[in-house]
Symmetry: C3
Subunit: 138 residues, 3 copies
């Protein structure tokens, strides 16, 4: 059993900018020479989120719109105190969660054919992001 830490860097536009990061995780997994285990995928920061979806343009648009409906941008207490207008970004991140753990076997992520790992940047401005890949396995 061993641990390996990798970092992905991403330039985002914010406003629920959505990235398929599956291939980059697969590549890091292959480089790490693991057979079986888990990878914890975590975004550093409190306005992003990690989950899975079928990564196709219609659904990517649906994700943006459902969050505009459930937790719209607006005048939150956070915005009044800090003036950065991204209260909704924080709330969406806390709800979806900043981290996802995925199993792998035979050096491949165990995912469905139409199931991709996505990073959503909910912030309200472009960001340089770091995503941590923590591999544990053998």
């Amino acid at each position: 059993m061993k641990v390996k830490t990798e970092y992905l860097k991403l330039s985002t536009e914010g406003h629920a900018d959505i990235f398929d990061i599956t291939e980059r995780i697969e590549k890091a997994l292959k480089n790490g020479k693991f057979s079986n285990g888990i990878v914890n995928v975590s975004v550093i920061g409190s306005t992003g989120a990690i989950t899975t979806c079928e990564f196709e343009p219609g659904l990517v648009q649906d994700i943006k719109e459902i969050f505009d409906r459930l937790i719209p941008a607006g005048n939150y207490h956070h915005d009044q105190a800090w003036g950065d207008g991204n209260g909704h970004s924080h709330l969406r991140s806390s709800l979806v969660g900043p981290s996802l753990t995925i199993p792998f076997a035979n050096n491949k992520l165990i995912l469905g054919t139409w199931q991709q790992v996505i990073f959503i940047d909910f912030d309200n401005r472009p960001r340089q992001r770091e995503i941590v890949l923590q591999f544990l396995g053998e």
Copy 2:
């Protein structure tokens, strides 16, 4: 420390069909002869979700109804592109998340008395499902 991969198979009706999978995870844990560690429980596919709840009929019905209210079935961009009418299923899955990690000690899951691990099939048709149990521990 070791890793062990098990698979659960489930036949579901879809439409937020909810299953208590706690006992099946406990059984796999006992067979795996682990003492202390974690189990990552992940559904393969992008229209299911894993979380916990008190598994009783009232709350099971409440879960179905809260998702019908928060993310109703309807005409999403995904549906227009693919015609399978399950855009809401995907959005619910991305929101709740496809995976949950649970600690165990002394060969038992650490959960509350009224806390069961559930799989929710949000798809809009019956499905044959596979859930991955990835055990890491000693």
Copy 3:
């Protein structure tokens, strides 16, 4: 590679009482003499949740209010059956999730500067809570 289990105890007021537990996790991590790995943070019980946020008073208030809007207290099937009036507490917990896994390296959690690990007690009464910290790493 080793596993270590720690427990945090908390007295809460319920009603979306929110606690920053980052320092207590950092302290347990230091005591455990780990270098690199993950910690799974899980609440025992089905009316609490673990996630991250920027822990400042405005956002703490925003979190309370967004859940009052998305999943208000009310008359759920669970309440009719059990009479304890906390159906909304269960639903919120299932949605956010009872568990979060966080990576660490060089004996420090990998989090953003304004990203704290929080426990939210969604129950509708004061509770004595136990949160499990399951460390895996080397």
